[in-house]
């Protein structure tokens, strides 16, 4: 067990570096901010990171494939507004959620199908499709978010609530469940093998009879479904629908994935890294807020830290060594 752990660290030192960084940010917070570092801090970090972690789970699959999904913020917003509207119109909440997840899944499959069939970059496809989707949902709701969230959903994501005897909100266990699913999917499933094969070399994978479309469809479908889940959770968290709720996730999901050591060009990485990445971004935001930095300064620091961290372990090989 121990040797396999060491072997794992040797294989991907990036996770070790980002865990060390995470601890470092925590220590800086404890030293510099009075009252920081207690139970409340842990709960807040876990809670806020769970939204990002869930939204970035599908992005991890897509980035391992060598793609990128820019439709995430739009899907988060669309699901948020659509579920609130359906629920407000009298539909049972779970049915409304189910419908929006199915629609999101089909939307993701459409992203994949267009990208694969026309052989165009998913960046533009997901951007265009996402813009159109959110536009369509806003048109349907007249841009006036209506409805709300049922009390149990608010409890599900409230920082003060408990899961049975455990003093953390249930959403954290949902994230844990999704995390286990993701790790099993990536490490112990045939789908996972195909995903890495396609990410490393689409040509070689296709010669090994891995078909692109099914793997892309599942990955982009999962990305949209999980974004929709995050959108519904946000509804419980803020209590009211807002089409722009996903906005920060345009780049934050990519940030969490890349900070976690997943190669943006595809083929290498995993979800454990994304978990650490989501925790790092969330903790850093909370610590910077604690030091009294406003949102603009936080962005400046975040951008600098982001490039700095990736410089520590995400560097490309010199072209010389690739000839």
């Amino acid at each position: 067990m121990r040797s396999s752990l060491i072997a794992g660290v040797r294989r991907s030192p990036d996770i070790l570096i980002s865990v060390v960084l995470l601890i470092l940010i925590y220590v800086v917070g404890v030293v510099g901010i009075p009252g920081f570092g207690g139970e409340q801090t842990f709960k807040a970090v876990l809670l806020l990171a769970s939204f990002l972690g869930i939204a970035a789970a599908g992005q991890t699959l897509v980035v391992i494939l060598g793609g990128i999904d820019l439709s995430i913020p739009f899907v988060v917003g669309a699901a948020n507004v659509a579920v609130a509207k359906l629920y407000g119109d009298g539909m049972p909440f779970l049915l409304a959620t189910l419908i929006s997840l199915i629609v999101a899944g089909l939307f993701g499959v459409a992203n994949a199908a267009i990208s694969v069939k026309s052989n165009v970059h998913p960046l533009i496809v997901t951007l265009g499709m996402g813009t159109a989707l959110l536009g369509a949902v806003s048109l349907w709701t007249n841009g006036l978010p209506s409805g709300g969230s049922p009390a149990w959903l608010t409890q599900f994501v409230a920082i003060g609530s408990t899961t049975g005897p455990i003093p953390v909100p249930p959403v954290i266990f949902l994230w844990l469940l999704i995390s286990v699913g993701m790790v099993v999917l990536l490490r112990a499933s045939i789908f996972g093998r195909k995903l890495y094969a396609l990410g490393n070399s689409p040509q070689a994978a296709e010669l090994a009879l891995v078909r692109r479309l099914p793997v892309w469809a599942v990955s982009f479908g999962a990305s949209s479904v999980l974004s929709a889940v995050a959108g519904v959770l946000f509804l419980g968290f803020t209590g009211a629908a807002f089409a722009g709720v996903g906005q920060p996730y345009l780049f934050l999901t990519v940030g969490a994935v890349v900070l976690g050591g997943t190669l943006i060009t595809g083929g290498r990485g995993g979800y454990v890294g994304t978990i650490v990445g989501a925790l790092t971004i969330t903790l850093l935001t909370i610590v910077l807020t604690g030091f009294g930095l406003n949102a603009s300064l936080q962005q400046v620091v975040m951008g600098t830290v982001f490039v700095g961290i990736v410089a520590a372990y995400g560097r490309d090989a010199h072209v010389r060594s690739r000839v």
């Binding site: 990128i68 820019l70 267009i114 069939k117 026309s118 052989n119 165009v120 970059h121 960046l123 533009i124 496809v125 951007l127 265009g128 499709m129 996402g130 813009t131 159109a132 989707l133 959110l134 536009g135 369509a136 806003s138 048109l139 841009g143 780049f251 990519v254 940030g255 890349v258 943006i264 060009t265 949102a295 603009s296 300064l297 936080q298 962005q299 400046v300 620091v301 975040m302 951008g303 600098t304 982001f306 490039v307 990736v310 410089a311 995400g314 560097r315 490309d316 090989a317 010199h318 072209v319 010389r320 690739r322 000839v323």
Partner: protein
Amino acid sequence: MTVPTFRPDATVLFGLAVFVVLLIINLVVNPSSFDPVNLPSTIGFAAPIILCAFAATPSLLMGNGGIDLSIGPIMGLVNVVVVYQFATQWGVTSAGVLIPLALGLGALVGLVNGLIVAFVRIQPIVVTLGTYLVCAGLSPIIAPTPGGTIPDWLATLAGPLSIVPIVVAGLLWWGFRQMPLYEHLMAYGGDERAVFTTGISVPLVRISAFTIGGIFAGIAGLSLSAVLGSADPTVGTNYSLLGIASAALGGVSMAGGRGGMVRALVGALTIFLLQNLLTFLGVSTFLLQIAYGAVLVLAIAVNGQISELVKKVASR
């Protein structure tokens, strides 16, 4: 040396057709924006989109993951530094100071992008996301609230002289095309390893692509300031993806090595004409979003389909 002409290979035909159709519909439905009296201000509205598509192009041509997400925030930063800090706070309104300032600021951020990409060897999307956040964060620090006034000469860039920044950017690119570096850039976008083994300086190619993109973003920032008529710390960020989408729509290859400014121009004008038409018709912004997304995906997908077809026919 090749003469800079538009070579419409089959892969951009559909995008071109969409552009022509939109142009005709615009001319029929809304001729007043194209009559000689209003044309300069119409061009003024189009200029920031056209110039940010130009700004997105050099890094896309570089290929090998080349992309510049920071162009929008550069435009926003130029806007607040020139209009808010210099022209309004410090009262420096001379064109001789502000124009070099805008271009220099754009070039500086582009140079930083290029240096990090070339020497630290981090993927361009990660580097420019970092500078995106830094520039977008700095803008509200410089100008906490929208406001300020622009000098008279800058206001003419939204009116009678609106075509000037586009022409200047075009001339700069034409000049760049006369240099061997341009051929190196296009070759690098085609095959990185081949370019390296022929002894071409790969770092120089990467740095130049981002610096030129940054200069174009600086010019775009001036045009944007002229249209806005004041400083706005939040408006720039939208232009990053708009510029990249415009370039891709016009047929600039995301994989590098294929395309140029004429294609970026066609793509940007397509998006502008679509906006112009729908705004004139008074449709809701949501319908505009749907149309923008649909046209983008449709044009890209059909161009892709045609390119696949061409490949199949060629391999027969």
